[in-house]
């Protein structure tokens, strides 16, 4: 410990700052231990996060595996052209953004609401039970979850049985929920909420514990009821968390997930269920057309990058907390 002030103060002691390069070299030598320590991690970052970017060149080739780089045929922007001229690609893009948007909005609203409500619960046992029950589905794999959803929604599933019982549908006229294309987004949104709402509340509940109880007391003194306290104390208290999460999630807007759409999708609802990842699987990987997959992946990365920076910038301008 006693070395530390010594190291940093040495800068201040210098009578006159030397020029940039000299200063840099001097600092480098002084802090060689720190520099050395960071080398392996920089190397890791470079090898595993930056080197793979080399693979993006595949998007501009008619890539054949097992051939060396110099033997590949270059095709320029052909794959991008194929993507953007394909009507299916636009439809798939619409589905991706729509489902992501549904996920984003629904996910935030339901998770924050549940967190707010749970925060007000005084009975600890009840709170625990609600929390456990709501976050358990998160640990079920989508394969199992999709089976549960399919069974629930099937013509002899519980929902149709209930509709039959209250007389909304006739026997033999059961509704084929997964066969109605327009309903797919609803089903997808509801299943995602069911699966992840409990899990998503955890971070908000944690943020709420950080709020100073004195604020609640003060608010109560001023005559604020429960709702008012939620609105004027709890919500502003967790605002920084909400905004940071929002920025991060906007970066993932083109990642609407793969499993639920793939597992719940079928021929009847394909117009609304097929998303970017499934498209890439079908026309890229399954056909051995790796170049197309990379082109689609590149497109996704670049858009995500722009979205992330835009959201962050917006937060900065509005004077809110931000990611970086």
């Amino acid at each position: 410990m006693e070395h530390k002030p010594d190291m940093s103060s040495s800068n201040l002691v210098l009578p006159k700052k030397p020029s940039g390069l000299k200063n840099f070299a001097k600092k480098l030598i002084e802090q060689r231990v720190l520099v050395l320590m960071s080398v392996p991690f920089l190397a890791w970052l470079f090898i595993f996060k930056y080197m793979p970017l080399w693979g993006w060149t595949i998007a501009f080739q008619a890539y054949k595996p097992a051939k060396s780089f110099s033997e590949q045929k270059w095709v320029g922007f052909d794959h991008f052209k194929f993507l953007f001229e394909d009507e299916r690609f636009l439809r798939v893009l619409r589905n991706t953004v729509a489902m992501s948007g549904i996920n984003l909005v629904l996910g935030f609203v339901t998770a924050i609401t549940l967190a707010l409500l749970l925060n007000e619960v005084r009975k600890v046992a009840f709170k625990r039970i609600v929390q456990t029950v709501s976050y358990l589905p998160h640990f079920i794999s989508w394969v199992v979850a999709a089976s549960i959803i399919q069974t629930t929604l099937s013509p002899d599933g519980i929902i149709n049985q209930m509709l039959l019982w209250i007389g909304w549908v006739e026997k033999g006229e059961e509704i084929l929920f997964l066969g109605i294309p327009e309903q797919f987004w609803t089903i997808f949104g509801a299943s995602s909420v069911w699966k992840d709402v409990g899990w998503n509340t955890i971070v908000y509940l944690a943020a709420m514990t950080m709020i100073d109880p004195a604020q609640y007391e003060a608010a109560e003194m001023d005559g604020a009821g429960r709702i008012k306290r939620m609105w004027y104390v709890t919500l502003p208290g967790i605002k920084p968390v909400i905004i940071v999460l929002l920025i991060m999630n906007i970066g993932y807007l083109l990642e609407s997930g793969f499993e639920p759409q793939y597992l719940l999708g079928n021929g009847m609802n394909v117009d609304f269920s097929e998303n970017l990842d499934i498209f890439v699987l079908k026309y890229g990987i399954a056909q051995g057309n790796y170049s197309l997959s990379i082109a689609a992946g590149m497109f996704k990365t670049i858009i995500s990058f722009i979205l992330l920076f835009a959201a962050n910038n917006l937060a900065k301008r509005m004077g809110e907390s931000r990611l970086f």
Partner: protein, 569 residues
């Protein structure tokens, strides 16, 4: 003080990472050298009388799911190791085939031998298999004997052979007494109640189901189910072809006179088939959930006793049928729910449900560029193809898993049949050796007339029948299920779906797009109000018309004609 410790840690870490990367580079060449030298000197020292050094090769199987195992841990594998000194470390696919194979291609590191199954095009594209021609010439007298007449069909575009398929028939062709291929299936009790009628037309079949469901209103029965899940959709899209009297050639019907291949996904046959389904749907006989159920739900329905009839391939719903048969063995009254195959066609014309002796050309086993000693592997494979080893592979050991009677006919006793269950299959090695190696195909026979595979031997088949099985077969005047069906015509190109297609070729893209269209429109057509059927059909054919079907048909026709030529040589 602290700085020093930190520095020491740092240097230690750096040295460690450096050491790691060093051993990574040198490791590949050095150890092989060091193991090679003693082996070389040993063989130089006394190479004459000692049998060859024992080796283990790696073998990846992308088709089947089973426990990973060393072949010499099974009885069959041990005997083969004693003969050749070769052991195989068998690895099975876990997870996604394309991912696994893609990783191999990217790293250019393969197992010694592999069966890439559906990813074989990718493997060939990557040049991962070595050409076998010279090796077969040198070490493969048996391979030549068994595969010789198929060599022309096995050659790649460059005229070389890269892998050995498994569907070569040797000797007299013996058809399967069971129905493992397509058929229209119906619960046995339906036939029993109707007095065992001979049903050969689609209308007759649907009426049979209709009458039965009407008579048993209180049982909440499902008349007809169809399998549509994922790639198994062909169970719903193939029937028009079968109903018109053709075998399963995939996407095309091949005219027997002109040998022109025509797709049928949007022709009159398909229209007639879908219209029939639309009709029974309107009558409440069709299970709507067919279009959203997954494969497990489908199998569960078949075992629920509620489904009266359906079309499917025997191998596909074997799990469900076996469960029903097992139940019937325990309790004969359950026999009512076992499904019985019927040779149904549109107008009762000659059916072609049984597979002609075909040759699947786009699946097989190859030796990779990473293989250490291809010659040893080819010798092993060649050794597998002797008559004696074929008997070992399929029948097992005389006195233990089969018997021979005074006429030289091979059979199994009731105890032996009972003994051979899944656990025994694994331990003895039938599970690992009955398929997925170069072999005589199931329909083959030995020179003495015995069938190569026990399942096709009439004696073994008869032993597997229950009294109820015998009763129903008797009512139809046959001894085996396949006798109900017409004998297959000769089709040298069969199956057309087995013609290899290049990765990302126009044919493959046509098939993907066609799949997408049929999966989208078939449900609409079947579930539409009967009055709207024509309208939806026009919509479908308009969309289908946008595909370049003519090019696909031309390509298939050319390939079929090439195969006919190849078979004449």
């Amino acid at each position: 003080m602290k700085k020093k410790i930190l520095l020491t840690c740092m240097t230690a870490f750096m040295i460690f990472t450096a050491a790691c990367s060093n051993s990574g580079n040198g490791g590949e060449t050095k150890p092989t050298n060091s193991t090679n030298t003693p082996a070389n000197t040993a063989s130089e020292g006394k190479e004459t009388d000692k049998p060859v050094e024992k080796v283990t090769f790696s073998y990846f199987n992308g088709v089947a799911a089973a426990k990973d195992i060393n072949s010499n841990e099974t009885t069959i594998g041990k005997i083969l190791e004693d003969q050749t000194g070769v052991n195989f470390k068998i690895e099975h696919l876990v997870g996604d085939l394309n991912t696994k194979v893609g990783t191999m291609i990217a790293s250019n590191a393969y197992p010694d031998v592999m069966i890439p199954d559906a990813a074989i095009d990718k493997i060939l594209d990557a040049g991962a298999f070595i050409a076998l021609d010279d090796l077969i010439e040198q070490y493969g007298p048996n391979i030549k004997r068994v595969y010789g007449k198929y060599f022309n069909q096995m050659r790649a575009a460059d005229g070389k052979i890269y892998f050995l398929p498994f569907s070569n028939t040797v000797g007299e062709y013996i058809p399967d007494p069971n129905i493992n291929q397509g058929a229209f299936w119906v619960q046995r009790r339906v036939l029993k109640e109707a007095g065992y009628p001979k049903v050969t037309t689609l209308d007759g079949y649907m009426d049979l189901i209709k009458n039965f469901v009407e008579k048993h209103k209180d049982e909440d029965l499902t008349g007809y189910v169809s399998l549509t899940h994922d790639w198994r959709f062909f169970a719903t899209s193939n029937p028009p072809n079968h109903l018109a009297g053709y075998p399963n050639d995939g996407n095309v019907i091949v005219d027997m006179n002109t040998f022109e291949a025509k797709t049928y996904a949007a022709d009159e046959n398909t229209k007639r088939w879908l219209q029939k389904l639309n009709e029974i749907n309107a009558e409440g006989l069709f299970d709507k959930a067919s279009f959203v159920d997954n494969f497990d739900q489908y199998l569960a329905k078949l075992t629920s006793h509620k489904v009266v009839g359906f079309f499917d391939y025997g191998w596909q719903f074997a799990n469900a049928q076996n469960a029903l048969k097992d139940a019937a063995k325990q309790d004969p009254t359950q026999d009512d729910f076992v499904y019985f195959p019927l040779p149904v066609t549109f107008d009762g014309q000659k059916d072609q449900y049984l597979d002609p002796p075909g040759f699947v050309k786009n699946r097989g086993m190859g030796i990779t560029v990473s293989a250490k000693d291809p010659a040893r592997i080819v010798q092993y494979l060649d050794n597998l193809l002797t008559d004696e080893n074929q008997i070992l592979q399929k029948w097992g050991i005389k006195g233990e898993t089969y018997e021979v009677n005074e006429n030289g006919r091979m059979y199994r006793t009731a105890e032996q049949i009972a003994k051979i269950d899944e656990a025994f299959n694994e331990k003895f090695g039938f599970k690992y050796y009955s398929w997925n190696w170069p072999l005589y195909n199931n329909g083959s026979s030995l020179p003495d007339g015995n069938s190569v595979s026990p399942g096709m031997q009439a004696e073994v088949f008869q032993m597997s029948l229950t009294n109820e099985d015998k009763t129903i077969l008797e009512k139809y005047g046959v001894k085996t299920y396949s006798e109900l069906f017409a004998a297959p015509d000769d089709r040298p190109w069969y199956p057309a779906w087995g013609i290899p297609k290049e990765q990302g070729s126009t044919q493959q893209i046509w098939e993907t797009k066609k799949d997408e269209l049929t999966k989208k429109y078939f449900p609409k057509l079947v579930l539409a109000k009967p009055a709207d059927f024509e309208k939806v059909w026009t919509e479908y054919t308009d969309a289908f018309g946008k595909l370049d079907t003519a090019a696909y048909e031309k390509w298939t026709t050319d390939e079929v004609k090439k195969l006919i030529e190849a078979s004449k040589q």
